[in-house]
Symmetry: C2
Subunit: 307 residues, 2 copies
């Protein structure tokens, strides 16, 4: 039940649509080891979750008693391991007292799945991001403002008095990937470079004329044909247009508000840059740190409520 | 050189990205036969075009002389059979006097590729639709107004005094297909039914708040999860949102204008319905008839200029 760095007290798990990330945690909150696998919810049957976990944790399972795994993300969805029903806004990010305990065949595991959050009007859901918001609240007790969580489905959440008051999801990241990889734009945007000025101009264009998005997208292809638009400028423009229309619609979330961005460096940096151009200084909090902080808060609460 | 219905005088060809359509034409303009193949520009090398054409026309090639094939579409692009360089707006739809003659190894073919049209600011291109616009002008001499050509890349063209004055392309059809088939919405929209009321509401929502598109798209999934939104309503809403933001941006093209829609029944009907809700009565002209009419005009012009 120990690894090189010390005794494994519990396991923090982020089990999403495409991958599983595990952090082996010391009693004092240090990360002893990190493990990843590609066994996301999208490719799993319910009876596949326990073997996947046992395989990754074989060397740290206890000789007696059970190893606690606190898990957020899509594993708790109806199509996942077991359903952890949504909490409804306004609510605090759901902790372990609202979690679903999974019955495992191997009694050396004690798994608890954290619920997501739902909003009925406008209809919206999150699973995983609520735990990052719990992490923000653990790191900054009393935080009152907006948490922006960029990703495949970017979330903007209004947090006040320890609760998620409302939120809205934008398909920006998924649109970017679909257009980059599968559309007529794929030749124009291929490669890996980046053009900051093209990104800034696109954010501004989309904010001032958001409806034109479908025409502005095709114009990227036309500009590649007619003006030899460089791929790094085309790719940055594609990103800027999509983030720009998102900012246009999310304006009530960021205008005059305290904003924190929770995300990975690349995409979080793009949002910070776009917000900075609107006069909003939004610090970035690393996504995996916030996930672990949220899972730790749930683990601590589990100890209080169940033992 | 004849088929069941009579002598083949020439061949009208629409050679696009994904397929080739041929119409065997009688001297009096009747269609004697129609032939299709899946050999679109996207899957062809330059040396594959002539064999493909010979294969489809083997039974009607003349014993002496050459069979004229007038061709519009992507076969005339830089990545196609041979480049037919764009004409620049403002210009009449390019006819055979601006076409590219292809040198064929088999002298029983005489192939002419019609050019597309370019616009430098905002950058935009069309290839194939200009021939449909030529067909509209042939069918309605002196037409002055807007031609809307719905499809993968929907075009809105301002036509006046026999010329295309300006145009704008929207990636609406491609966005619809990407989201329907490849996104998180694919489960919510699967099947084939349709809900007119959901379409109308979505057009209206998108017109009044176009920037919210990326959030409204995700809300389709959330409504399927939380409200059991039916697939036919989800699919109609997806279409309505995308057509709605297009109409919001294309407003200068349709507000107070004479509009003709050139398209296939399903998609053209959706645009007609969306425009009707804005008070614009736009008749539909069948796409393939307009293509043939445009190719016939080019063929007639070819006779005048080259023989």
């Amino acid at each position: 039940m120990a690894v090189a760095g010390g005794k494994v007290a519990w396991v923090a798990a982020d089990w999403g649509t495409t991958q599983l990330r595990l952090w082996l945690m010391a009693p004092d909150g240090r990360v002893l080891d990190e493990r990843r696998a590609g066994c996301g919810m999208a490719t799993m049957q319910p009876d596949g979750y326990e073997p996947a976990l046992l395989g990754l944790l074989a060397d740290v399972l206890p000789a007696e008693g059970a190893l606690t795994v606190v898990c957020c993300g899509m594993a708790g969805s109806r199509q996942g391991w077991a359903e952890a029903p949504y909490a409804a806004v306004p609510c605090p990010p759901p902790s372990s007292d609202r979690a679903t305990r999974v019955a495992t065949a191997d009694k050396r595991l004690r798994v608890c799945l954290l619920p997501g959050i739902r909003q009925d009007d406008p209809p919206d859901v999150m699973r995983g991001e609520e735990t990052q918001i719990a992490g923000v609240l653990a790191a900054f007790p009393g935080f009152d403002g907006i948490v922006c969580l960029p990703g495949t489905h970017t979330k903007w959440a209004h947090v006040s008095a320890g609760e998620v008051v409302s939120f809205r999801t934008f398909m920006t990241g998924e649109l970017f990937a679909l257009l980059r990889d599968g559309s007529v734009l794929r030749h124009a945007v291929q490669g890996h470079g980046w053009d900051d000025a093209a990104f800034d101009a696109a954010v501004s264009d989309a904010l001032s004329r958001p409806a034109a998005i479908a025409a502005e997208l095709f114009a990227i292809r036309a500009a590649a044909l007619l003006r030899d638009l460089r791929p790094e400028a085309a790719r940055a423009r594609l990103s800027g247009l999509l983030i720009g229309i998102e900012l246009a619609a999310a304006r009530p979330y960021w205008l005059g508000q305290e904003v924190r961005i929770v995300g990975e460096a690349g995409i979080a940096g793009a949002y910070r840059q776009a917000l900075a151009a609107q006069g909003v200084a939004a610090p970035i909090l690393p996504a995996d740190e916030m996930t672990r902080a949220g899972l730790l808060a749930a683990y601590a609460n589990l100890g209080e409520t169940a033992e």
